[in-house]
């Protein structure tokens, strides 16, 4: 099949998948409620820390600090739940039906990933609007705003790629849900919720090695520092790298599963 029809199929399936996601707001609610709640809780609990002189180098306020963590958390939540849907589809015989349809095989996966990116763009925009309304400000202006939205979309691509690959490989929603605590752990062991500078011992070492820290800090850079290349490198390139590897993994799982049918 031509690459033209693959792109067309991907676009059609992306649109269908986005509609599907928006039609079940109950599934999306936690990925909005929890990150915003944690951000509110964090900035109310840790506001005294923001008064410390050494915090000024990190962010102007704890709310400003918490924005990037909330975005990352929200995008990861939403992407995982989308992959859970895919696993449920597979469990209910989705691929058998698929084989009977003329749709390009790869666009099945790419359509899902595309929809995760679209949802992420909407989600990040809404998050930023809420944070700005509550007094946060983006240090790098419009470019930073775009930087954050793109970073969110790339992160959604990476995460939904990984989780969809897992969903296709396992075909079990339980496995996808079971991988979720790992994501949660990855976030806690990073600077998503609290500055790495204040951590101590082995915990700080782990956070320093955790790529999540660098993605978050790149995004925090857009929020809290003057514009510089480092922000794009960390907030864009790391998720992009992971995304490419994840898509390769996902497509391999897809081919294996289709071959096994």
């Amino acid at each position: 099949m031509s690459s033209g029809s693959a792109i067309l199929h991907t676009a059609v399936l992306t649109r269908r998948s986005v509609r599907g996601r928006l039609r079940q707001p109950a599934a999306l609610t936690p990925s909005f409620v929890f990150p915003l709640f944690f951000a509110a809780l964090g900035s109310a609990s840790f506001s005294r820390i923001a008064d410390r002189p050494d915090f000024a180098a990190i962010a102007p306020s704890f709310l400003n600090y918490a924005v990037a963590g909330a975005i990352v958390q929200g995008v990861l939540f939403a992407s995982t739940s989308a992959a859970g849907d895919l696993a449920t589809d597979i469990e209910q015989g989705f691929f058998e039906r698929l084989l009977a349809s003329p749709v390009t095989r790869t666009s099945i996966l790419l359509g899902r990933l595309g929809s995760a990116m679209v949802v992420a763009v909407v989600q990040v925009t809404i998050f930023l609007a809420i944070f700005l309304a509550f007094g946060a400000r983006i240090e790098t202006g419009v470019i930073g705003f775009i930087g954050l939205v793109v970073a969110g979309a790339l992160l959604a691509l990476a995460m939904s790629g990984l989780m969809s690959g897992l969903a296709i490989k396992s075909g079990s929603p339980e496995v996808v849900q079971g991988a979720f605590p790992m994501v949660f752990a990855l976030m806690f062991l990073s600077s998503a919720f609290f500055p790495r500078q204040y951590m101590t011992g082995w915990y700080q070492d782990v956070a320093t090695w955790n790529p999540m820290s660098h993605v978050v800090e790149g995004m925090q850079g857009f929020m809290n520092q003057p514009l510089n290349v480092d922000q794009f490198l960390r907030a864009w390139l790391i998720p992009l790298g992971i995304a490419l590897a994840a898509i390769a993994f996902g497509l391999r799982s897809l081919n294996k599963r289709l071959a096994a049918l």
Binding site: A44, F46, S47, R48, L189, F193
Partner: protein, 267 residues
């Protein structure tokens, strides 16, 4: 006709002891844990992970507030949280029993209704014992201070068991009324917000205005004060009674909620 009736009913009828029913239901809970450990592992792993994550990530915030070791602050919180996870298990278990019809078997038993409520709650406390003890153990390994002595640990356990009871009773009440998985989710939400909108992360004095206002009236703040006192200083009546009153009030309310929910099943 008479002969038929007589031969079927000459047997002695016994009285059911509610305490025996509670015991049997606790044994059943533990038996299910042993036979389906995969459902139990997260309830052990989560509180321990959160203890490590909270202490590691937010440790500085607690230390800046003048607390020697982050474990002193977070062990009671995560013991309570671990205990409250059991409520989800109670809700799932009840829904499962409702779906298989096993719950009807319990309802048709000639036993006091309260024993059917207390049974699963007691089972939940039994289930919570391991996570609570594990959190305390990890706390010791992490250098937790215990200036209040053995009584400090007793206070942690009292608070955790009390919250476990309340959360389980609430879960039962909600599940009796909703009769679907939504009850477990709502229970989780309720527990989550009750715990986090208290002094879960930092002392009242470090909080910004809105959270301070909420946490001050949240009974969970009193319970946490009760639980933490022996790790931050001496165990005193001053820091105990407020927690006990809060626990008693929450227990009374959730107990009533559960019992009335059970009654509503017949309606």
């Amino acid at each position: 006709m008479n002969t038929a009736t007589t031969s079927a009913t000459t047997s002695t009828t016994y009285f059911t002891r509610p305490s025996a029913v509670v015991g049997a239901l606790v044994r059943r809970t533990m038996l299910r844990v042993r036979r389906m450990p995969s459902a139990f592992v997260p309830s052990i792993a989560m509180p321990v992970f959160q203890l490590i994550a909270f202490s590691g990530a937010f440790g500085a915030a607690v230390r800046f507030a003048g607390i020697a070791n982050a474990m002193d602050w977070y062990v009671p919180l995560n013991a309570i949280q671990g205990a409250s996870f059991g409520a989800m298990g109670v809700s799932f278990g009840l829904i499962n029993d409702m779906q298989t019809g096993f719950f009807d078997r319990l309802l048709m038993a000639p036993t006091r209704r309260w024993s059917l409520v207390v049974g699963p709650i007691a089972g939940s406390i039994a289930r919570a014992a391991l996570p609570i003890l594990l959190v305390i153990l990890v706390g010791f390994l992490g250098g937790m201070n215990v200036p209040g002595g053995p009584l400090a640990i007793v206070m942690v356990i009292v608070a955790a068991a009390g919250v476990s009871t309340t959360a389980s009773a609430f879960a039962l009440g909600l599940t009796y009324r909703m009769r679907n998985m939504g009850a477990a989710t709502l229970t989780q939400f309720a527990i989550f917000f009750t715990i986090f909108l208290s002094t879960s992360q930092v002392p009242l004095s470090s909080m910004a205005s809105w959270l301070h206002a909420v946490a001050r009236i949240n009974p969970m703040t009193n319970v946490l004060r009760l639980a933490r006192q022996g790790l931050l200083g001496d165990v005193t009546w001053d820091q105990t009674w407020g927690g006990l009153v809060a626990l008693a009030a929450m227990l009374a309310l959730s107990g009533w909620f559960a019992l009335s929910g059970l009654k509503s099943l017949e309606k």
